[in-house]
């Protein structure tokens, strides 16, 4: 049967069966992409006029206080807990934020991308002992939901989780879910921020929320605002905080802005745009 005579379903099936690393003769046209990137990528091109509208951003953290004025509401909130037989359970979150940190991250993302859609996955509160399993289950759930951006201001040092975390972050990368993860500033091995499939974030000391730097010496890829940041906290409070865990939602917010304007970017393309618009690369133009 000639290629042109194939039914769409069959063509879809054939494509799935084809090894992903080959491009048969004549197929180059099928993956031809419109060249609508200007020769110079500016911030105006990248996110000018964007409010992050309809971009789905997930906060994987301590829960989010949806009623806080800086958060401006949540679409959905779930909590991961440990069930009676030791299994992880994902269910509606009825407790909200158990620390304040998740609310802080949600508020930072909202301040940069006011029209994004915010979701919360709470991975805190089920005890320390099962926290690695809870983190994995929360991330797995978030990747399955196909969020556009997942903000992870957390990491684990347990090597037993490194392999499965690596698989999950790769899966997210291939499914166009951008994982933005806090880097560690202490001399220990921790994950998932060290994986190249995520966007890893450390802090700079400047006060502009849109100032971010590309780091030419990885593993940390970007530095964003993380010192003395006014954030939302529980009980409707606003407090000032410092840490890479506050730089991370700044990068997530910027990702949401770019994706709000350029919906179809893959994580690779998004990283390229971030690189080209970094304060130390494009001069913040």
């Amino acid at each position: 049967m000639a290629q042109a005579e194939k039914q769409p379903e069959e063509e879809e099936r054939t494509r799935e069966l084809r090894p992903a690393w080959s491009l048969p003769a004549g197929d180059a046209d099928k993956i031809r992409l419109p060249v609508d990137w200007p020769s110079e990528i500016t911030r105006d091109w990248a996110w000018g006029g964007s409010t992050g509208k309809d971009v789905r951003v997930c906060i994987l953290d301590s829960g989010v206080d949806a009623g806080h004025e800086l958060v401006g509401g949540l679409e959905e909130a779930v909590a991961v807990t440990i069930g009676p037989d030791g299994e992880t359970v994902v269910a509606e979150d009825t407790e909200g934020d158990l620390c304040g940190h998740g609310t802080a991250c949600a508020g930072v993302v909202r301040s940069l991308a006011p029209d994004c859609r915010l979701f919360s996955v709470r991975v805190l509160g089920a005890g320390f002992t099962g926290s690695g399993d809870v983190l994995l289950a929360g991330l797995k759930w978030a990747v399955e939901q196909g969020f556009d951006v997942v903000n992870m201001s957390l990491s684990t040092t347990k090597r037993q989780f490194a392999g499965i975390l690596h698989e999950l972050t790769d899966q997210a990368y291939f499914r166009r879910t951008v994982l933005v993860a806090s880097a560690h500033n202490m001399p220990v091995e921790s994950y998932p921020w060290r994986f190249s499939s995520v966007i890893s974030v450390g802090s700079h000391e400047e006060s502009d929320p849109l100032t971010f730097f590309y780091n030419p010496e990885p593993p940390v890829e970007f530095f964003a605002r993380g010192v003395d940041v006014e954030v939302a906290w529980t009980s409707g409070a606003r407090i000032r905080c410092t840490g890479n865990s506050f730089a991370t939602p700044h990068m997530s917010g910027i990702c949401a802005l770019v994706l709000g304007k350029h919906r179809d970017l893959t994580p690779f393309q998004l990283k390229s745009v971030l690189y080209l618009t970094s304060t130390n690369v494009g001069g913040g133009r």
């Binding site: 620390c99 509160g125 005890g127 040092t157 202490m186 802090s203 409070a237 407090i239 865990s245």
Partner: protein, 216 residues
């Protein structure tokens, strides 16, 4: 394990907890002094109970807090432990729930707090907190690095303490003479000169009696 080795291990274990405790205390005191803070404390994760326990306190709460426990995965310390991320927060009194929670665990409400996880190899052992450093224009990343260095030292001390406790528990559970003798030796070593002399004479007599019995 031969008898000499057993005795050596026992002697190494007995009393080491106190040394490691002193080391932890010194870490919180130096942390408090360096940052000019009102208080500093170290929490150890009790894995069996899944709780955080106050192990060392310098400044406010020094007298009353040691041994006090709270949940391992809620609040600031819980977040820091679970996420392995350090956190510096100011103006915490803005949040009444937080104020209540901290006041219950520390006896007073701080305005600001630095909290850092204590990580040793791949284990998260506990949390170091520094409360109420003097308000400055802006927190700097240099201070964050300094906090990280302290945390590293505290984590090593905490790991030693944890190991000493495990070893001592194992020695107690074995019920062997080595443990009893090592504990007795530790007690005698701590006496003043006069009583120590008397204690050593008494032990020598006990040994003589036991040897004679053995011979006869």
């Amino acid at each position: 394990m031969n008898a000499d080795l057993k005795a050596a291990v026992a002697a190494g274990v007995i009393g080491s907890e106190e040394s490691f405790r002193t080391l932890l205390q010194s870490v919180v005191e130096v942390a408090r002094a360096i940052f000019g803070a009102k208080a500093s404390s170290i929490f150890l994760l009790d894995e069996e109970a899944d709780e955080l326990v106050f192990e060392a306190v310098a400044g406010e709460g020094e007298e009353t807090l040691i041994g006090k426990r709270f949940p391992s995965s809620t609040g600031i310390a819980g977040w820091v432990l679970v996420t392995r991320q350090p956190l510096v927060i100011e103006d915490v009194t803005q949040d009444p729930r937080f104020g209540k929670e901290v006041a219950e665990s520390t006896g007073y409400v701080p305005k600001g707090m630095m909290a850092v996880p204590l990580l040793h190899d791949e284990r998260a052992l506990g949390v170091l907190e520094v409360l109420d450093r003097p308000a400055r224009a802006q927190f700097s990343l240099v201070e964050m690095d300094l906090l990280g260095l302290f945390a590293n030292q505290a984590a090593i001390a905490l790991d030693l303490l944890r190991r000493a406790r495990k070893a001592e528990a194992a020695l107690d559970a074995s019920g062997e003479a080595a443990g009893v003798v090592a504990r007795l030796a530790e007690t005698v070593e701590k006496l003043d000169d006069e009583r120590r002399e008397a204690g050593l004479r008494l032990l020598a007599s006990v040994e003589e009696v036991l040897r004679n019995d053995e011979g006869g």
